[in-house]
Symmetry: C2
Subunit: 247 residues, 2 copies
């Protein structure tokens, strides 16, 4: 893991850019932690949505509140073909992403399969960092962050709780990843989502294997998740990750 | 409004039994408020579910947490043909309630129509009480508490926010009450509810006219609402009723 540039420190939060090599691919990431943190604390991995990147507004804001309010660490990496992994990647549109993905569907599929391992190796590397350590770990990702998060969370035993949503599966889908997830999940649905069918979103919630799962539904379009759900995300991680937290 | 017996005082909460005459019917109720409260504060009206009564476990517990955590007042009345309004009314079963209601459907319908006015007059009477006053007011009621709550909240302009749920309407219902409700609503659904069809519950949420509405869905049977949703109810009222609160 290579640290890139100098840490940014402000209002109690230290932000560090890193690059990690995974199978000859450079995975660009950011770690946020409390200023002067040492030892071990809960960590939340943040997966951005389609056309976004590791430091987009809601990722940065969620990372900072997890650090400031809870004393947790948070980390984000750029998704496949997003952010620093492609030219102009911090200024994408959903249309541009789709066009690029369709240009080479095989490479796109390969990159999406690879991200699961990239997240796992990122977690392994972060657990070696003083101030993070191998504490309780959560995953937060909506929309594309759930497309990536479902197989990652399903296959990664170190994840203790997850916030997912803005995604669905057809009611008759096998939903193997969703079915095999048994950790506590907060699942977010936008009732007037123009990208995800209501019945598909409900079917995905229904399929999740977790006994402790809660769905929060709010009116509005795909990207109009209300601020209250970011607060709810924070409270959810506070509840399920705080158990083993060290000050 | 007649106060019945002596107030119960414990752990900062004063509990007072009252009777109120509404159209020659005696409405038995309880008011909970902070010990030695004076002036005005937010008030939450609590409607119990079918076969329950004004002092059943979850009503008492919710009333006490609203008083202790938020400094609010809370009040509950016995529903039609429930609690102190019928012989053996604090020890009913759903079957016994149904049997009794079916014995005289006309009287049952009359009693259910009357409850809206009974709640409104109870609110008017409570607003005269020092320590309650005419502050922001919420309504909380699930299941039968929603059957009664929908027309009451729809017709009572003094209600500022409501928690409803465990109830549904057919997707093709007119849902006039639900449609005309425009205050913030937290709507609770039990995903495996054995009494309410999932599609009917979703249709009722969909029909609510409120812009600020949120649905929380949890796995489990009708009566298995998790403790987290009582905490969520408290936070919901804290958010929407606290604005004009007086210490």
């Amino acid at each position: 893991m290579d640290w890139i540039g100098e840490p940014l420190v402000g209002h109690g939060v230290t932000e560090r850019r890193f690059d990690l090599e995974v199978d000859e691919e450079t995975v660009p990431g950011i770690l946020w932690s409390p200023e002067d943190a040492t030892g071990t604390r809960p960590l939340v991995l943040l997966g951005h949505g389609g056309s976004g990147h590791k430091r987009m507004d809601y990722i940065l804001s969620l990372a900072r509140r997890l650090v400031r309010h809870l004393g947790f660490a948070a980390a984000a990496i750029d998704g496949p073909m997003h952010g620093d992994r492609v030219p102009g990647g911090t200024d994408l549109t959903l249309d541009r992403v789709r066009t690029r993905m369709n240009e080479d569907p095989e490479q796109t599929a390969r990159r999406f399969r690879a991200i699961r391992k990239e997240w796992s190796e990122t977690l392994t590397a972060l657990q070696q960092v003083d101030g993070v350590g191998d504490g309780p770990t959560g995953y937060w990702g909506l929309s594309m962050g759930t497309v990536i998060g479902l197989p990652f969370v399903a296959s990664e035993p170190r994840i203790d709780a997850a916030v997912l949503g803005l995604m669905g599966i057809p009611a008759d889908a096998r939903g193997e990843s969703a079915r095999s997830i048994t950790i506590p999940v907060l699942f977010l649905v936008q009732w007037d989502d123009e990208l995800i069918k209501r019945t598909d979103a409900l079917a995905l919630f229904d399929t999740l294997g977790s006994k402790q799962k809660t769905m929060h539904v709010n009116p509005g379009l795909h990207s109009a998740v209300p601020p209250a759900e970011f607060k709810a995300s924070e409270e959810f991680f506070a509840k399920y990750l705080r158990v083993a937290a060290t000050a």
